[in-house]
């Protein structure tokens, strides 16, 4: 087991009366893909925002590369090698694809020519090189997701936080994206990904953490996680696991009708 590059230690975030993240802890080993899954509203994106410095946690700490980075501003973290993509894509709409990526490349390249060249190289890595001179606003959804990824890669990160880069893509676009992500890890980048596309999580991640109602409720290899009754319940509601495993049993007690997915507490 390699040393964790990122360690989230009992992080909590409260928005007024809402506890969005509740004592969440997880680790991301260096050079691997770690996935963060969970139902909508579980606090995944909030946790990402805390790691990347966009939100300050109410409690707990974030350790990166052996140093406590809790509460540092995003640009400082980016300079230390933490890159993130946004779930809701945030292109520089008025700029071309090349210029978008070059903004990231400028972090390590002061000269414009070098930054533009680096941007073109990154675009090749994510198959955007055919659209370099298009305005970012003219890209398709899949193109915008790739642009998010390209921009993050352009800062030459050590840790890459991917927030649903596969959401909104059709199955063939997802299939095209998987090798791109694998190639990034092969270059030694550590990835933490929030993902709803389970097919991708199963095929990419080595370790999965499940977040529900702000807490980490399960952790393990993708196969184990998929079979964990707690996880099934978190997604489908209290009693769902039982229903599914005993669904065909004649004498199985009928689960309570109308108990939504709000349960899940254990």
């Amino acid at each position: 087991m390699p040393e964790p590059l990122l360690r989230v230690d009992r992080v909590a975030k409260r928005f007024g009366g809402l506890l969005a993240v509740d004592q969440a802890s997880f680790e991301a080993p260096a050079g691997r893909i770690t996935a963060l899954i969970g139902p909508n509203g579980a606090g995944k994106t909030t946790l990402f925002a805390i790691i990347a410095g966009f939100l300050r946690p109410t409690d707990g700490r974030v350790v990166y590369d052996g140093a406590d980075i809790t509460g540092l501003p995003p640009h400082r973290l980016a300079r230390r090698g933490i890159a993130r993509t946004f779930q809701i894509v945030q292109p520089f709409a008025g700029l071309t694809v090349r210029e978008n990526i070059a903004v990231g490349a400028h972090l390590h390249h002061a000269s414009r020519a070098e930054a533009l060249a680096a941007a073109a190289a990154v675009a090749r890595a994510v198959d955007l090189d055919g659209q370099l001179d298009k305005p970012a606003a003219a890209l398709t959804v899949a193109g915008r997701k790739r642009l998010e990824l390209a921009r993050a890669l352009a800062i030459e990160p050590r840790l890459l936080l991917l927030d649903e880069v596969l959401a909104g893509l059709n199955p063939s676009e997802v299939r095209d994206m998987l090798p791109v992500i694998r190639a990034i890890v092969a270059r030694g980048v550590t990835i933490v990904m929030i993902e709803h596309v389970m097919q991708a999580v199963m095929s990419l991640a080595e370790h999965v953490f499940v977040l529900a109602e702000g807490r980490v409720i399960a952790a393990g290899a993708p196969r184990e996680i998929a079979a964990d009754p707690k996880v099934v319940e978190a997604y489908l509601g209290h009693g769902a696991a039982k229903r599914m495993s005993g669904g065909h049993g004649v004498s199985a007690p009928s689960p309570l009708v109308g108990e939504g997915r709000g349960g899940g507490s254990s």
Binding site: P74, A78, F86, Q90, G94, V103, H106, L107, H109
Partner: protein, 333 residues
Amino acid sequence: MTAQTKSLLPILVAVALLAAVPLVTASNVVLNFLVVALLIALVGQGWNLLGGYGGQYSFGHAAFFGTGAYVVAILQVRYGLNAWPAFALGILAGAAVGGVIGALAFRSGLRGSYFALVTLAFAEVLRIVASVAPVTGAGVGTLIKLDLRWQALQFQSRVPFYYVILVLVALSLVLIHVVERSRFGAWLVAVRENEDAAAALGVDATLVKIGAMTLSAAITAAGGCFYAQYYLFIDAGIAYGPWISIEALLAPIVGGVGTVLGPLLGALVVKSLGEATKLVAGDAPGLDLVIYGSVLVLVVAFAPRGIAGLLTDLLRLRRRTRRAEAPAEAGRA
């Protein structure tokens, strides 16, 4: 380097054309008109750096214009300093005021209309202070002693003045051109487009905006310094009055925000309109403001990227029709 020279070409052409004007005409009316238009172009170029490239719409560039003007005047009148170093110090003082206001506004996270209001407030506070403080001559204003020698940066004829302001405008054009192709410029535009995304890419948005405001203030202050030398008189209403804040944003918005030549184009058009109004309607007070207001509404409604934007659209349209006629033609500038 050929790409570099090619992109400098529009600037060179514009400056060369303007430089040739005194060779064609010696009319004081024409030269005076152009001096004022170029002064507005310079002041507007300062606004353009922060507003056009940085997306931070200031309503108080008078704060920098006035500081430049007062520093030039006061250093000469009260401290006997030569006009040339006073000019340089005026620019530096304007930059310092810009840096301080920028630091206060941006570090408190002010954006959009809140930023605009705060800049307006700073300019107004400075205007009121200047209208009562003894050092500025208070209500009477400050008169720079007439001394028509180049050593004192004063000239008998308008031609040298014209070239001084043209050189300043040319420098500002080259400066913006350099910024546009620098890392700082890329970061500044990124902050304009999306501050969060820029921060995620390692851009210190606050620092970039403060830097832009400092540079922007320096350019606008140079305009103030020139004003003081050209008219040899300033008071609080001239130096820190809202009129110059309005001119500063009108020129780039009409000409095309976030473009190198926008403020120059805009200043020439706006000033021409102002003169035309005077010819038609005489010197009715406030009429020029009515015209400015209407022009601003029309530009924002129909040409949000200003004249420069209209021109590029027209060029593209022509190219497209030409391409439709000759499908073999390829490539874009």
